[in-house]
Symmetry: C2
Protein backbone atom coordinates (compact mmCIF):
# COMPACT_ATOMS: atom_id res chain seq x y z
CA UNK A 1 0.00 0.00 0.00
CA UNK A 2 1.21 3.43 -0.88
CA UNK A 3 1.70 5.86 1.96
CA UNK A 4 -0.77 4.23 4.31
CA UNK A 5 -1.60 4.79 7.13
CA UNK A 6 -1.36 8.48 6.28
CA UNK A 7 0.09 9.72 9.55
CA UNK A 8 2.64 12.46 9.91
CA UNK A 9 4.44 10.17 12.31
CA UNK A 10 4.73 7.60 9.60
CA UNK A 11 5.98 10.12 7.14
CA UNK A 12 8.83 10.81 9.48
CA UNK A 13 9.48 7.17 10.09
CA UNK A 14 9.36 6.40 6.40
CA UNK A 15 11.52 9.28 5.24
CA UNK A 16 14.50 7.05 4.66
CA UNK A 17 12.55 4.09 3.37
CA UNK A 18 12.03 3.30 -0.31
CA UNK A 19 8.30 4.16 -0.02
CA UNK A 20 8.87 7.74 1.06
CA UNK A 21 8.97 9.41 -2.38
CA UNK A 22 6.55 12.27 -2.52
CA UNK A 23 4.85 13.41 -5.69
CA UNK A 24 6.23 16.90 -5.10
CA UNK A 25 9.63 15.89 -3.87
CA UNK A 26 11.11 19.35 -4.37
CA UNK A 27 8.67 20.80 -1.84
CA UNK A 28 8.85 17.85 0.49
CA UNK A 29 5.05 17.73 0.68
CA UNK A 30 2.87 14.65 0.57
CA UNK A 31 -0.47 14.50 -1.20
CA UNK A 32 -2.15 14.40 2.19
CA UNK A 33 -0.40 17.56 3.34
CA UNK A 34 -1.27 19.38 0.11
CA UNK A 35 -4.93 18.42 0.41
CA UNK A 36 -4.99 19.43 4.08
CA UNK A 37 -3.51 22.83 3.27
CA UNK A 38 -6.01 23.24 0.43
CA UNK A 39 -8.87 22.33 2.76
CA UNK A 40 -7.60 24.85 5.33
CA UNK A 41 -7.57 27.47 2.61
CA UNK A 42 -11.07 26.57 1.44
CA UNK A 43 -12.28 26.71 5.05
CA UNK A 44 -10.73 30.06 5.95
CA UNK A 45 -11.84 31.60 2.65
CA UNK A 46 -15.33 30.27 3.46
CA UNK A 47 -15.57 28.29 0.26
CA UNK A 48 -16.16 24.78 1.61
CA UNK A 49 -16.15 22.76 4.83
CA UNK A 50 -14.08 19.67 4.05
CA UNK A 51 -11.97 17.73 6.53
CA UNK A 52 -9.80 14.68 6.62
CA UNK A 53 -11.18 12.13 9.05
CA UNK A 54 -8.82 11.15 11.83
CA UNK A 55 -6.98 7.90 11.20
CA UNK A 56 -8.91 5.15 12.95
CA UNK A 57 -6.98 3.68 15.82
CA UNK A 58 -7.85 0.68 17.96
CA UNK A 59 -6.99 1.68 21.49
CA UNK A 60 -6.01 -1.25 23.67
CA UNK A 61 -4.44 0.24 26.76
CA UNK A 62 -4.67 3.67 28.36
CA UNK A 63 -2.75 4.87 31.38
CA UNK A 64 -4.97 7.05 33.50
CA UNK A 65 -2.95 8.89 36.09
CA UNK A 66 -5.52 11.71 35.97
CA UNK A 67 -8.65 12.03 33.84
CA UNK A 68 -7.19 14.97 31.94
CA UNK A 69 -3.89 13.25 31.30
CA UNK A 70 -4.98 10.02 29.62
CA UNK A 71 -1.99 8.48 27.91
CA UNK A 72 -2.56 5.81 25.29
CA UNK A 73 0.20 3.23 25.65
CA UNK A 74 -0.99 0.51 23.30
CA UNK A 75 -2.92 1.06 20.10
CA UNK A 76 -3.00 -0.16 16.51
CA UNK A 77 -3.98 1.27 13.17
CA UNK A 78 -7.37 0.06 12.00
CA UNK A 79 -8.49 -0.40 8.41
CA UNK A 80 -10.75 2.54 7.56
CA UNK A 81 -14.29 1.57 6.54
CA UNK A 82 -14.86 4.82 4.70
CA UNK A 83 -12.81 7.28 2.70
CA UNK A 84 -10.41 9.80 4.20
CA UNK A 85 -12.18 13.02 3.25
CA UNK A 86 -15.71 14.33 3.33
CA UNK A 87 -17.54 17.56 3.71
CA UNK A 88 -19.87 20.14 2.32
CA UNK A 89 -19.46 22.26 -0.81
CA UNK A 90 -22.07 24.46 -2.45
CA UNK A 91 -24.80 22.70 -0.48
CA UNK A 92 -23.67 19.24 -1.60
CA UNK A 93 -22.15 16.31 0.25
CA UNK A 94 -18.64 15.66 -1.07
CA UNK A 95 -16.66 12.49 -0.39
CA UNK A 96 -13.31 11.34 -1.70
CA UNK A 97 -10.24 9.24 -1.25
CA UNK A 98 -6.73 10.45 -2.13
CA UNK A 99 -3.92 8.13 -3.18
CA UNK A 100 -0.37 8.41 -4.33
CA UNK A 101 1.13 5.99 -6.79
CA UNK A 102 4.74 5.70 -7.92
CA UNK A 103 3.93 3.60 -10.97
CA UNK A 104 2.20 4.75 -14.17
CA UNK A 105 -1.10 3.18 -13.09
CA UNK A 106 -3.43 3.09 -10.12
CA UNK A 107 -3.28 -0.41 -8.62
CA UNK A 108 -6.59 -1.49 -7.08
CA UNK A 109 -4.59 -2.92 -4.20
CA UNK A 110 -4.28 0.74 -3.13
CA UNK A 111 -7.97 1.03 -2.33
CA UNK A 112 -10.01 -1.27 -0.14
CA UNK A 113 -13.29 -2.96 -1.03
CA UNK A 114 -14.83 -1.08 1.91
CA UNK A 115 -13.85 2.21 0.39
CA UNK A 116 -15.15 1.23 -3.05
CA UNK A 117 -18.46 0.19 -1.50
CA UNK A 118 -18.60 3.43 0.47
CA UNK A 119 -18.08 5.50 -2.67
CA UNK A 120 -20.78 3.49 -4.44
CA UNK A 121 -23.24 4.25 -1.63
CA UNK A 122 -22.41 7.95 -1.73
CA UNK A 123 -23.28 8.13 -5.43
CA UNK A 124 -26.44 6.11 -4.81
CA UNK A 125 -27.57 8.53 -2.08
CA UNK A 126 -26.98 11.62 -4.19
CA UNK A 127 -23.53 12.73 -3.03
CA UNK A 128 -20.48 13.74 -5.02
CA UNK A 129 -17.81 11.02 -4.93
CA UNK A 130 -14.39 10.99 -6.52
CA UNK A 131 -10.82 9.80 -6.15
CA UNK A 132 -7.74 12.04 -6.26
CA UNK A 133 -4.76 10.18 -7.68
CA UNK A 134 -1.23 11.60 -7.56
CA UNK A 135 1.37 10.16 -9.93
CA UNK A 136 4.44 10.90 -7.89
CA UNK A 137 7.05 10.33 -10.58
CA UNK A 138 5.16 12.54 -13.08
CA UNK A 139 4.15 15.18 -10.51
CA UNK A 140 0.60 15.10 -11.85
CA UNK A 141 -2.56 14.88 -9.78
CA UNK A 142 -5.94 13.86 -11.22
CA UNK A 143 -9.49 13.97 -9.98
CA UNK A 144 -11.58 11.13 -11.34
CA UNK A 145 -15.27 10.54 -10.67
CA UNK A 146 -15.68 7.52 -8.40
CA UNK A 147 -18.08 5.79 -10.80
CA UNK A 148 -15.21 5.04 -13.23
CA UNK A 149 -13.03 3.63 -10.47
CA UNK A 150 -15.89 1.50 -9.10
CA UNK A 151 -16.74 0.22 -12.58
CA UNK A 152 -13.14 -0.80 -13.30
CA UNK A 153 -12.60 -2.19 -9.81
CA UNK A 154 -15.42 -4.67 -10.33
CA UNK A 155 -15.33 -5.28 -14.07
CA UNK A 156 -11.90 -4.60 -15.49
CA UNK A 157 -9.67 -7.49 -16.53
CA UNK A 158 -6.74 -5.53 -15.12
CA UNK A 159 -5.77 -5.15 -11.48
CA UNK A 160 -5.17 -1.45 -11.98
CA UNK A 161 -6.31 1.59 -13.94
CA UNK A 162 -3.73 2.77 -16.42
CA UNK A 163 -2.37 6.30 -16.37
CA UNK A 164 -3.80 6.85 -19.86
CA UNK A 165 -7.28 5.85 -18.75
CA UNK A 166 -7.16 8.10 -15.68
CA UNK A 167 -5.89 10.96 -17.83
CA UNK A 168 -8.71 10.53 -20.32
CA UNK A 169 -11.54 9.99 -17.80
CA UNK A 170 -10.21 12.27 -15.07
CA UNK A 171 -9.14 15.89 -14.85
CA UNK A 172 -5.71 17.30 -14.10
CA UNK A 173 -5.72 19.36 -10.90
CA UNK A 174 -3.89 22.67 -11.03
CA UNK A 175 -1.04 22.91 -8.53
CA UNK A 176 -0.25 26.30 -7.10
CA UNK A 177 0.63 28.26 -4.04
CA UNK A 178 -2.82 28.76 -2.56
CA UNK A 179 -4.58 26.45 -2.70
CA UNK A 180 -1.85 23.92 -3.33
CA UNK A 181 -4.25 21.67 -5.18
CA UNK A 182 -7.28 23.49 -6.49
CA UNK A 183 -9.47 20.42 -6.72
CA UNK A 184 -12.69 22.37 -6.12
CA UNK A 185 -12.16 24.06 -9.45
CA UNK A 186 -12.47 20.62 -11.03
CA UNK A 187 -15.48 19.82 -8.84
CA UNK A 188 -17.12 22.99 -10.20
CA UNK A 189 -16.41 21.87 -13.75
CA UNK A 190 -17.49 18.27 -13.38
CA UNK A 191 -20.43 18.45 -10.96
CA UNK A 192 -21.81 21.99 -11.15
CA UNK A 193 -21.35 22.82 -14.83
CA UNK A 194 -25.06 23.15 -15.57
CA UNK A 195 -25.42 25.69 -12.74
CA UNK A 196 -23.04 28.20 -14.25
Amino acid sequence: MVNYPNMKKNHKILLNSPTSKHYTAHRGMSLEEDISLSNDYYLTSNRAVIYKKPTPVQIVKVDYPRREAAKIVEAYYKTPSTTDYNGLYRGKYVDFEAKETKVKSFPFANISLHQIEHLRRIIQHGGIAFVIIAFTTLNEVYLIDASYVIEDYYHSQRKSMTYERIRSLGHLILQGYQPRLDYLRIVDEVYFKEDE
Copy 2:
Protein backbone atom coordinates in the same frame (compact mmCIF):
# COMPACT_ATOMS: atom_id res chain seq x y z
CA MET B 1 -17.36 17.13 30.34
CA VAL B 2 -19.84 14.31 30.04
CA ASN B 3 -18.60 11.05 28.64
CA TYR B 4 -15.72 12.48 26.68
CA PRO B 5 -13.61 11.29 24.99
CA ASN B 6 -16.22 8.86 23.74
CA MET B 7 -14.05 5.79 23.60
CA LYS B 8 -15.16 2.30 24.50
CA LYS B 9 -11.93 2.03 26.41
CA ASN B 10 -12.94 5.00 28.48
CA HIS B 11 -16.35 3.60 29.09
CA LYS B 12 -14.75 0.61 30.63
CA ILE B 13 -12.37 2.68 32.63
CA LEU B 14 -15.13 4.95 33.83
CA LEU B 15 -17.61 2.23 34.71
CA ASN B 16 -17.00 2.64 38.39
CA SER B 17 -16.61 6.39 38.34
CA PRO B 18 -19.39 8.85 39.11
CA THR B 19 -19.54 9.96 35.47
CA SER B 20 -20.37 6.53 34.09
CA LYS B 21 -24.19 6.69 34.32
CA HIS B 22 -25.75 5.91 31.00
CA TYR B 23 -29.02 7.38 29.85
CA THR B 24 -30.37 3.89 29.35
CA ALA B 25 -28.85 2.34 32.39
CA HIS B 26 -31.08 -0.74 32.21
CA ARG B 27 -29.68 -1.66 28.82
CA GLY B 28 -26.16 -0.68 29.69
CA MET B 29 -25.86 1.29 26.46
CA SER B 30 -24.32 4.69 26.02
CA LEU B 31 -25.70 7.35 23.70
CA GLU B 32 -22.74 6.77 21.42
CA GLU B 33 -23.41 3.05 21.19
CA ASP B 34 -27.10 3.64 20.47
CA ILE B 35 -26.31 6.11 17.69
CA SER B 36 -23.71 3.76 16.22
CA LEU B 37 -26.18 0.89 16.17
CA SER B 38 -28.79 3.15 14.59
CA ASN B 39 -26.29 4.26 11.95
CA ASP B 40 -25.43 0.63 11.23
CA TYR B 41 -29.10 -0.09 10.79
CA TYR B 42 -29.60 2.93 8.51
CA LEU B 43 -26.58 1.82 6.47
CA THR B 44 -27.58 -1.82 6.03
CA SER B 45 -31.18 -0.86 5.27
CA ASN B 46 -29.75 1.55 2.68
CA ARG B 47 -31.47 4.56 4.19
CA ALA B 48 -28.48 6.79 4.92
CA VAL B 49 -24.68 6.82 5.01
CA ILE B 50 -23.76 8.34 8.36
CA TYR B 51 -20.65 7.52 10.38
CA LYS B 52 -19.01 8.57 13.58
CA LYS B 53 -15.60 10.04 12.91
CA PRO B 54 -12.73 8.28 14.63
CA THR B 55 -11.60 9.95 17.83
CA PRO B 56 -8.64 12.16 16.94
CA VAL B 57 -5.46 10.92 18.48
CA GLN B 58 -2.05 12.59 18.49
CA ILE B 59 0.41 9.82 17.85
CA VAL B 60 3.80 10.47 19.42
CA LYS B 61 5.64 7.19 19.27
CA VAL B 62 5.24 4.10 17.11
CA ASP B 63 7.18 0.88 17.39
CA TYR B 64 7.87 -0.44 13.95
CA PRO B 65 9.13 -4.00 14.13
CA ARG B 66 7.56 -4.61 10.71
CA ARG B 67 5.60 -2.24 8.49
CA GLU B 68 2.43 -4.31 8.89
CA ALA B 69 2.74 -4.53 12.64
CA ALA B 70 3.01 -0.89 13.65
CA LYS B 71 2.33 -0.58 17.35
CA ILE B 72 1.48 2.83 18.75
CA VAL B 73 3.12 3.09 22.17
CA GLU B 74 2.55 6.74 23.00
CA ALA B 75 -0.47 8.78 21.97
CA TYR B 76 -2.89 11.32 23.42
CA TYR B 77 -6.49 12.30 22.84
CA LYS B 78 -6.80 15.48 20.79
CA THR B 79 -9.61 18.03 20.98
CA PRO B 80 -11.85 17.45 17.97
CA SER B 81 -12.19 20.46 15.65
CA THR B 82 -15.45 19.22 14.20
CA THR B 83 -18.47 17.26 15.37
CA ASP B 84 -18.51 13.51 15.90
CA TYR B 85 -20.99 12.52 13.19
CA ASN B 86 -21.57 13.38 9.58
CA GLY B 87 -22.91 11.82 6.44
CA LEU B 88 -25.42 11.78 3.66
CA TYR B 89 -29.19 11.43 3.87
CA ARG B 90 -31.70 11.95 1.08
CA GLY B 91 -29.08 13.74 -0.95
CA LYS B 92 -28.28 16.17 1.85
CA TYR B 93 -25.17 16.67 3.97
CA VAL B 94 -25.99 15.92 7.62
CA ASP B 95 -23.77 16.88 10.56
CA PHE B 96 -24.31 16.56 14.28
CA GLU B 97 -22.87 16.29 17.73
CA ALA B 98 -24.30 13.97 20.42
CA LYS B 99 -24.01 14.66 24.13
CA GLU B 100 -25.21 13.11 27.34
CA THR B 101 -26.05 15.22 30.35
CA LYS B 102 -26.93 14.07 33.85
CA VAL B 103 -28.42 17.39 34.91
CA LYS B 104 -31.74 18.89 33.74
CA SER B 105 -29.95 21.24 31.35
CA PHE B 106 -27.35 21.19 28.62
CA PRO B 107 -24.24 22.98 29.94
CA PHE B 108 -22.34 24.78 27.19
CA ALA B 109 -19.15 23.51 28.78
CA ASN B 110 -20.14 20.20 27.12
CA ILE B 111 -19.56 21.55 23.62
CA SER B 112 -16.47 23.31 22.35
CA LEU B 113 -16.32 26.62 20.54
CA HIS B 114 -14.76 24.75 17.61
CA GLN B 115 -17.80 22.52 17.37
CA ILE B 116 -20.21 25.47 17.60
CA GLU B 117 -18.31 27.24 14.83
CA HIS B 118 -18.30 24.08 12.74
CA LEU B 119 -22.08 23.71 13.08
CA ARG B 120 -22.52 27.38 12.15
CA ARG B 121 -20.48 26.84 8.97
CA ILE B 122 -22.50 23.77 8.04
CA ILE B 123 -25.74 25.76 8.19
CA GLN B 124 -24.14 28.59 6.23
CA HIS B 125 -23.05 26.19 3.47
CA GLY B 126 -26.47 24.58 3.15
CA GLY B 127 -26.09 21.47 5.28
CA ILE B 128 -28.34 20.03 7.95
CA ALA B 129 -26.88 20.58 11.43
CA PHE B 130 -28.25 19.54 14.79
CA VAL B 131 -27.35 18.37 18.27
CA ILE B 132 -28.64 15.20 19.92
CA ILE B 133 -28.92 15.63 23.68
CA ALA B 134 -29.59 12.70 26.02
CA PHE B 135 -30.91 13.47 29.50
CA THR B 136 -29.58 10.41 31.25
CA THR B 137 -31.62 10.67 34.44
CA LEU B 138 -34.88 11.17 32.48
CA ASN B 139 -34.06 8.63 29.78
CA GLU B 140 -35.10 11.13 27.12
CA VAL B 141 -33.19 12.02 23.97
CA TYR B 142 -33.84 15.16 21.93
CA LEU B 143 -32.81 16.37 18.52
CA ILE B 144 -32.47 20.14 18.37
CA ASP B 145 -31.56 22.19 15.32
CA ALA B 146 -28.05 23.58 15.72
CA SER B 147 -29.18 27.16 15.09
CA TYR B 148 -30.87 27.29 18.51
CA VAL B 149 -27.82 25.96 20.27
CA ILE B 150 -25.51 28.37 18.43
CA GLU B 151 -27.81 31.31 19.19
CA ASP B 152 -27.93 30.50 22.91
CA TYR B 153 -24.24 29.65 23.08
CA TYR B 154 -23.35 33.16 21.92
CA HIS B 155 -26.23 35.25 23.26
CA SER B 156 -27.81 33.61 26.27
CA GLN B 157 -27.21 35.03 29.75
CA ARG B 158 -27.08 31.44 30.98
CA LYS B 159 -24.18 29.01 30.69
CA SER B 160 -26.56 26.23 29.66
CA MET B 161 -29.80 25.50 27.84
CA THR B 162 -32.57 24.40 30.17
CA TYR B 163 -34.37 21.11 29.73
CA GLU B 164 -37.64 23.03 29.17
CA ARG B 165 -36.12 25.07 26.36
CA ILE B 166 -34.67 21.99 24.65
CA ARG B 167 -38.02 20.23 25.02
CA SER B 168 -39.88 23.11 23.44
CA LEU B 169 -37.42 23.85 20.61
CA GLY B 170 -36.28 20.28 20.02
CA HIS B 171 -37.99 16.99 19.22
CA LEU B 172 -38.10 13.84 21.33
CA ILE B 173 -36.45 10.91 19.56
CA LEU B 174 -38.28 7.61 19.66
CA GLN B 175 -36.31 4.83 21.35
CA GLY B 176 -36.86 1.32 20.10
CA TYR B 177 -35.27 -1.94 19.17
CA GLN B 178 -34.24 -1.18 15.62
CA PRO B 179 -33.15 1.48 15.19
CA ARG B 180 -32.39 2.19 18.83
CA LEU B 181 -32.77 5.89 18.27
CA ASP B 182 -34.82 6.74 15.21
CA TYR B 183 -33.39 10.21 14.77
CA LEU B 184 -33.85 10.21 11.00
CA ARG B 185 -37.61 10.20 11.57
CA ILE B 186 -37.14 13.57 13.26
CA VAL B 187 -34.82 14.72 10.48
CA ASP B 188 -37.62 13.88 8.01
CA GLU B 189 -40.08 15.94 10.05
CA VAL B 190 -37.87 18.93 10.65
CA TYR B 191 -35.86 19.25 7.43
CA PHE B 192 -37.84 17.49 4.71
CA LYS B 193 -41.42 18.31 5.67
CA GLU B 194 -42.14 20.37 2.55
CA ASP B 195 -41.06 17.45 0.34
CA GLU B 196 -43.71 15.09 1.62
